[in-house]
Structure formats: structure tokens, C-alpha cells
């Protein structure tokens, strides 16, 4: 469940966008020619002293309320501090002051996005797209997500299609859209898009795989099996479908079936850690501890961050009376999750 449910794209996107902004800001339109006070604030920002910059700017703004540019810098400073609600407030003001402030518009859209105010994010992001229709793919991605979450599905579809260079009415566009909706946890809409993709092109690879994954999320295991089998009928070399099928069989106590498909999956892709984890789970339940241990170690060697592999290894050692090794593995599982939770944020 956990392996399938993790949706870490928000973290990745945050890092990507922050780094892109750092580059763009270095060449920002706002040249340092306005005022000594603003120059000081910018200098502090360049040194990463965001809190000091905020304090400076707030004092400065109190004394020179008429000066343009303060809201922009305050918005940037709060954005860099991850204070998106505050950032949005100042960046909105900055954009109102200068509707050609590209950086303010982009950061405003992102600030609204990161604070979950997606309806408000859309106008700013649309403006950014109009300025740089091809150049800023990250803003386009965020805009498409905003459309999707706010149920503006047609615009989301068109934007994702543009982003990936496919026709909006193609099966590929619907499949891409479906995947993006899965990542947002919008499962019914995702299913609808994937089914649309398969209507356009019944032989499309990866559609049934995605439907199978959705069925697993929803606890509908018979349906999941059907979808994975349909995927394999179209795409017999799809190792991911075999692995997912192995997981479902494990949940249904069909260990022999599980082992069979997992071995096929490993033969196709010997570098995918999840297959070894699931095989380790099956073998552990069967009491074949040496083989289970071997597979779980293999999974960890491929993915040291697999807390499930560490956890099962811990249980395996516990059942063998190897308390020290058990504690070590279970602590590793706990530590990995703590790190993942810290970086992912949110609930689940």
C-alpha cells in the first residue's frame, strides 16, 4: 500500500522550481538602481539572510511607503522562507504595482499553488504562460495541476498535452492526464481520463496498468487482477504489471500465483526493487526465511530507502530470535519514514 501510495512529486517540483527561480532571479528585471535601502535588502537576500531582509524591508516600507519595489522584495523574501501566504500578499501588491513584473507574477502563482489556493494561482500562471509560452515548462505544469484540481479538466488536458507535445484529443494526452490526476489523488477523475484514453486507443500500453493501480488503491482486488492481466495481454513485457499482480496475489493469500508472476517480473527487470520486496514478503509468510532474507537484502541493495524491505527483514530476524539485527532493521525502517515524512509534509 505504502509503496504504491507515495506521491512525492510535490517535493520534487518544489526543489525544481526553487532552483529555477534562483537562476531567474539572478538576472531579474529589477536592476539595483532604485534606492540604497532596496539594494541593502537585495544584498541580504543574495546572502540568504531572508529574515533580516524582511525586517529591513518592513522598517523601510514604514518610512517610505510610496517607494515601488518593496512589495516585490518582501514577497521574494517570504517565498524563500517558505511563507507562501505572506509571500502571496506582497507579490500580489507588487504585480498590481507593475503588471509587467514577470518574477512577481510567477512567484505569485507558485505561492498560491504551494498554499493550496489554486483558484487564485491560475490568473498569475496564465499570465506567465502568455509571456513565455514555450520556455517555462514548470509554470505550465503547475498551471495544469491547478486546472485539474479545480476541475477545469479540459484546460488541464490541453495544458498537459502542450507540455508533452501531444494532441489534446489523443489517447496519449488522456493517459498523461490520468497519471497526473492519480498523482494528485483525484482517483475518479483519473479513472475517467484513462478510460477515455483506452476508448480512443484500446491497444494503448500502460492504461490498464494505471487502472489496476487505481483498483488496488480502492481495495478492489478482483478488478485489479483483471486490469493487470489486460495490460499484460497488450504488453507482455510489462514488469510493473507483474509486480503489482504479485502484490495483489499476496494480499489475497495466493502465494503460489504471486511467486510465479514476481519471478517473471524479475526476469524482465532485475533492477526493480519492489519485485524483490514483494517476493520477500511472500517467502516470509511461507516461512522460507533464508530465501526471503536474500530477496529483501537484494531489494535494499537496489533501494536503501525501502522501509518495507527493512521492516520485513526486521520481522524475519525477530522471528529467528536475532533481536539485535531485528532492532537494527526496524529502526532503519522507522528512520527512513521519519526522513520521508519530514520532506514530504502533509498527512499520508
Amino acid at each position: 500500500m505504502a509503496t504504491i501510495h507515495l506521491r512525492p512529486e510535490r517535493v520534487v517540483m518544489t526543489l525544481v522550481l526553487l532552483s529555477l527561480f534562483a537562476v531567474s532571479h539572478a538576472t531579474a528585471a529589477f536592476a539595483q538602481n532604485q534606492d540604497d535601502g532596496l539594494s541593502t535588502a537585495r544584498s541580504l537576500l543574495q546572502q540568504g539572510k531572508n529574515r533580516q531582509a524582511i525586517a529591513w524591508l518592513e522598517t523601510f516600507a514604514a518610512n517610505r511607503p510610496e517607494l515601488k519595489g518593496v512589495n516585490h522584495e518582501l514577497g521574494v523574501a517570504h517565498y524563500r522562507e517558505g511563507e507562501y501566504l505572506e509571500a502571496a500578499k506582497y507579490l500580489q501588491e507588487a504585480w498590481n504595482e507593475n503588471d509587467d513584473d514577470h518574477d512577481a507574477a510567477q512567484l505569485l502563482g507558485l505561492s498560491y499553488y504551494f498554499s493550496g489556493r489554486l483558484v487564485e494561482a491560475i490568473p498569475a500562471l496564465e499570465k506567465v504562460r502568455s509571456w513565455r509560452p514555450e520556455a517555462n515548462i514548470d509554470a505550465m505544469y503547475v498551471l495544469a495541476v491547478c486546472y485539474a484540481v479545480t476541475k477545469r479538466y479540459a484546460e488541464a488536458l490541453a495544458t498537459f498535452a502542450q507540455l508533452y507535445g501531444v494532441s489534446p484529443d489523443s489517447a496519449a494526452a488522456h493517459l498523461l492526464m490520468g497519471h497526473m490526476l492519480i498523482r494528485q489523488g483525484l482517483d475518479p477523475a483519473a479513472e475517467s481520463e484513462i478510460r477515455a484514453a483506452l476508448r480512443v486507443s484500446p491497444q494503448l500500453p500502460l492504461g490498464h496498468l494505471a487502472l489496476g493501480e487505481l483498483s488496488v488503491y480502492g481495495g478492489n482486488y478482483p478488478q485489479a487482477i483483471q486490469e493487470f492481466e489486460a495490460e499484460l495481454a497488450l504488453n507482455p513485457a510489462c514488469a510493473a504489471a507483474l509486480t503489482q499482480l504479485g502484490e495483489v496475489y499476496w494480499r489475497l493469500n495466493r502465494d503460489e500465483d504471486s511467486k510465479k508472476v514476481l519471478r517473471r517480473s524479475i526476469s524482465l527487470d532485475s533492477m526493480a526493487p519492489t519485485s524483490y520486496v514483494v517476493l520477500g514478503k511472500v517467502l516470509f509468510r511461507e516461512g522460507r526465511l533464508a530465501l526471503a532474507e536474500q530477496n529483501l537484502h537484494r531489494a535494499i541493495s537496489l533501494d536503501p530507502g525501502s522501509y518495507t524491505a527493512h521492516y520485513f527483514l526486521g520481522q524475519l530476524y525477530r522471528d529467528q530470535g536475532k533481536s539485535e539485527a531485528a532492532q537494527r532493521e526496524m529502526k532503519a525502517a522507522a528512520r527512513i519514514q521519519q526522513l520521508q515524512a519530514t520532506s514530504a509534509g502533509g498527512r499520508n
Binding site: M1, T3, Y84, S115, G219, N220, Y307, G314
Partner: protein
Amino acid sequence: MRTRAGWILFLIWQVVCIPLWARIVVSAQDRATQIAEFRDIAQKAGLTAANVFGGKDTSTYILESTGTGVAIFDYDNDGWPDIFLVNGTTVTGLAESAPTNHLYRNNHDGSFTDVTASAGLTATGWGQGVCVGDYDNDGWEDLYVTYYGKNRLYHNIGGKFEEVGETAGVAGNGRTWGSGCAFVDYDRDGYLDLVVADYADFDLLHPPAPGKYPTCLWKGIAVFCGPRGLPATKNILYRNLRNGHFQDVTLSSHFDRTMGHYCFSVSPFDYDDDGWPDIYVACDSAPSILYHNNQDGTFTDVGILSGVAYNADGREQAGMGSTVADYDGDGHLDLFRTNFSDDTSTLYHNNGDGTFRDVTYQAGLGTHTRYLGWGTMFFDFDNDGWPDLLLVNGHVYPEVDSLKIGIDYNEPKLLYHNRGNGTFADVSQVAGPGITARTPARGLAVGDLWNDGRLSAVVVNRNSLPNLLVNQTKYPNHWIDVRPVGTRSNRSGIGSRVSVRTTLRLQSGEVRSGSSYISNSDMRLHFGLGVENEIQSIEVRWPSGLVERFSDAAVDTVMMVKEGTGEPVGAAADGLHKPN
């Protein structure tokens, strides 16, 4: 210790008798269509006070989302269980007619009378959870109510309550958000001690706004912040000093030495059958805790190593409620926990060696992933001798309805029927409108409200009226309710292990305060007996270590068993004896 011969007999019984039992009981599952008819009679029965807990249509802060608990207990010693519903307030406060908790007296005729004022329970505030126990052994069950703010201990003086939390030393610091609680005699001195689970340190004067941090987003939209990002706090253990006062022993007992935090329900149970009560605490977005009683006044959190902190994949879940029973009849107490949406609830099978295995999928409980579970109780609704499972659900984000993602704010309850073979059948759709009706449910308590062997359920719904779910379906099965009364042990009998032996079955249960979601069910132990109409014996292992047999039990009755009045069975060197 179970002897080798005992083991062999036990195995023979497992192999031969369980299938026989399964053939002769009249199980609800045998009925082709409607297997139960749970109807909500709360309004008709007089449970008319609506719950107040934060904003009705929005939840700006997590404090407004978690709802309250409920207790079923006999406050006036008339032999009939009464109902206590905890109430909250709103962020803006309600200057006039501020909501209070409500105590409803059982009129013995299917109705209840609100006796809150005459019982002295008209306090207001951010009420949360409730637990029951006779902490001073005076024969009257007392109440402990947790708050966001100072917790309250209500001393029951002949059916009137006096608030003594501060003087008794259990009010807390007033800053911490208290949640679940349970009375438990952890040092087995005959006096009930008190466990209080804490959710977080929450500053309502400076709360984070929705969307302020990445922890304040859910499926891309701004929602209230938490629990991640909120300052965690420790759970509290109070030792009863036997003079009306308690001592905070959190640090000396090592209760604070745990990875778990953001905790809710408390379910004490002797998971390793050593006679010393251990304590399970369900935690939200963190590993859940199993405090192992070291028998020397200290505890060790063995949740992770024993296998009840995470799910089968080793993933932490958002634990809410928990319940304990021997669902498969192997003599060991098992554990069930409700969790957040987009996840399954979790059933942990007790392996009998101090470890557990997550058998959620194998037991058929891994199919509902959309509901957000809160209160849960094992209860044998058809008296076939196998504990069934009731879960009550409701989402925390009112915004979820606008997303149209197949998850709703108001959710139905789930009823799983125990097939008697280690698996459960989802019978929610054929168990009556009380189960299928959608509500924002939170607390749950179950009990035999009319001493007729028919288990009912009381549900707290956030900012709504409560439910009183009564099963209208009659079953020909027999039953017995057992009420242990301690003399050397605590008077409430909490922690007593009771075994009921019939021709074909040996069932066991344990008296427990707390459990479910920050609630307290009828503490009399209910055993469904199927079609068996004779009880061979009832054996009680008291917290004092005394083991007694009571041979005069009749089916279809409520039986009080008083410590020291049965036939002593013997005691092991450690003062314990395990029925075999």
C-alpha cells in the same frame, strides 16, 4: 504456564470442536439477506442534544476536527447502563447557552432522561475523550474527561459528581490537548491509575492558517494544518496514591520514551498474558505505541518490535481508534485500529509469543480504503460467540465534498461479521439503515443497554445529533454478561481476565477502560454463546493474581462475580494462573 498436555488438549479442541461449533451456532451470516436491522432511535429515546465541536461548515483549525467521545456506564448503580456524551465548543466561543456534556439516565423502558444538571456535570469547554473507573474503590464509577485545556476528574458520590481534577493532581497543565484516556491498575496495588494520551501542544491564540505550510495541504488544496508540524507532546501516566491524589509518574515510568506522538485512543490490555497490564495507544501520522509493563513501575515501548506500530508494509498510519478482543478464539487478545482515508484499517493477530502479525488483508478487512475511521469496537451483535467489528467513519475536511473524489465528509458505518475462521464478511449493506446512514461520526461506545443480551451502539457525530443504534433483529442464540467486582483488586474489576467455558468453546475477555475512539464502552464483559444453553464455569483471573472459578452461571443473564466469593483455582508462583 500451559502444560504440554494442556497444549495437546487445546489443539484437539481447536481441530475438532471449532468446526462442530461453527456448524451448530445460528450465525447472522446464515441469513440470506438482511442479517441485522440496526436502527437509530436516539431522538425517540431522548438523546436529543446535538454535539458542538468547532465550525459547522468549515474547519479552520485541526482542533475543530477531531470530535468527542462517549461513555456507557452505570452512574447510579441501578444495574442499568447510562450514557455520557462529551461536548465541545467553538473557536469563537458561545457566550450564551454554552454547550455542556450530557449525562442520560437509563429509564429501563427504552428511553433516557437528561440528568446532566442534577448530576453536577454542566461544565463547558473543549471536551474530548472520556474514561470510566472507580478510582477510590467506593463502589461508584468515576469519570475522567479530557479537554483542550484542563482535564476534569469527576468523583461520583452516590450518583452526584464532584469535579476534583485539580486537587487530585490530574488536571494537567491546561496547555496540552488531551485526547484518549483509560483507568488501569498498572502496578496491581488494587487502585486504578490513569493514562492520558495527548495529541499536541496547540496554541489557539497563534494557530497556523490553512495552507500556511506544506503540512496544511491535502490533495492540492488548503486545509487546516496538522498534525505534522504541530509541537508534539508526551502521554501522561498518573499513579494513584490511594488517598484521592495521583502522582505524575510519566518520567520515572519511562512513559515519555517513545517515537509515537499525536496520540488518540488508549486500549490497555495484557497482550503477553503475564498478568501485568500493558497499554496500546493509537497515534496519528506516527508509529503507534505499545507500552510493555516491565512489572517494576516502568514501561518500554515495544510497538515497533512487536509489530503493532505500523501496517504490514512497515508504514506508519494515522491511527485513531482501537479495540481489543480474541477474535479467532485462540486465547490471545488481538488488536484492531482505525486509520485515515486512502488507507485500510489494521487487524493485528496476536501470535501468542509477544508479537503480532498484520492480517488485515487475509482477514478480508483490506477492501475499504475511502473511509476515515474513528470509533471501533469488537462486539458480537448476533451472539454467535465470535466478536464482530463495528467501525464509525467521517472525514475531517469539510472541503472534501467539493473535490468530488469519491470521498465524502459524511460517511456510513461499517459492520463486519466474524465468520469464526479468522476472516470477516462485510455486512454493512444488509445490517439496517443505522449502519448505512452517512454521518460525521467520531466517538463510539457499545453496551447491553437493556440487560437483554442485545448489544447497542452510541455514536457521537461531530456538530450533529448522536446515534443510538439498536438491532431490531432477534437471534435464538444465548449470551451472558459478566461483571467482575474486585475486593482485593480494583473495585471496577478493570484488568480482570474472564474465561467462559461451555461444552464446545472457551471464550475469554478482559475488562477494559477507554478504547474505541476516546470513548468507554459498557465494561461488563459480553459473551455470545450460540445455541449452547449451559455454562460449565466462569473463571476470573483478577488483577490481584487470585484465580477463581464460578460454577453457578446461567445463560441469558447479567452475572456479577465478586472477588473472593468463587472457588479458588490456585495461583502460580508469580501470583498468576492461566486458565487452560
